[in-house]
């Protein structure tokens, strides 16, 4: 598609529950990025993929967060045992290549942990 698609739009979880977010990048884009936007509007980089391979995972809280990009499937970001501080908007972005290429952002998934 011509736009990055993210589902669901909103997700509500009780503390300790699992949350799974999905992202379909623009067709032909090889790189996928996940960012977390918290209440103060700061964007935190989480992880990036080159096709199905992890490219950079320096931002991932590895204890509870995991992500995958499998062939012919949407990419996913999973949070095991959610905590209150995981409440944020999670954005997915894609680009044709890395480096200074424009990243195209999806509309985001708002995760609320109660």
């Amino acid at each position: 598609g011509e736009e990055v698609a993210q589902t669901p739009k909103h997700l509500v979880r009780g503390e300790g529950q699992k949350a799974k977010l999905y992202c379909a990048p623009i067709k032909g884009h090889s790189y996928v990025f996940w960012y977390q936007q918290v209440l103060k509007n700061e964007f935190k980089f989480l992880i990036s993929f080159q096709n199905e391979n992890v490219f950079d995972e320096t931002g991932m809280p590895k204890e509870r967060f995991s992500a995958k990009c499998l062939p012919n499937s949407p990419c996913s970001l999973e949070i095991q045992a959610t905590k209150l501080e995981d409440s944020a908007v999670y954005f997915c972005a894609s680009s044709r290549w890395t480096g200074p290429d424009t990243q195209y952002f999806g509309p985001g998934t708002r995760l609320t942990v109660l």
Partner: protein, 111 residues
């Protein structure tokens, strides 16, 4: 390491007035700079980008930005704003792996 500072968290301005949104960066590598706009409950939309060449970059919706290497700045400008420009604006610097975003500036255009 790369970082971006947007000193103004909010900028109120009247319709048809000019506006400048400030962005300063620090980078230890080659500099690639971007401005994105975020409308309420939406994702980020690219306004413009500087990769190389002319330091004055023109973008969509009448916005432009000037790359100033000596002042490590990439300020965004528009000569005459509209109500529809009300949104949050994010400056970002790219290394070869990811973007680093500023904390955003809320532009509030008043009639």
């Amino acid at each position: 390491a790369q970082s971006v500072t947007q000193l103004d968290s909010q900028v109120p301005v009247f319709e048809e007035a000019p506006v400048e949104l400030r962005c300063n960066y620090s980078s230890s590598v080659s500099v690639y700079l971007f401005w994105y706009v975020q409308y309420p409950n939406q994702g980020l939309q690219l306004l413009l980008k500087y990769l190389s060449g002319s330091t004055l970059v023109k973008g969509i919706n009448g916005f432009e930005a000037e790359f100033n290497k000596s002042q490590t700045s990439f300020h965004l400008r528009k000569p005459s704003v509209h109500i529809s420009d009300t949104a949050e604006y994010f400056c970002a610097v790219s290394d070869f792996n990811k973007f680093y975003f500023g904390s955003g500036t809320k532009l509030n255009v008043k009639p």
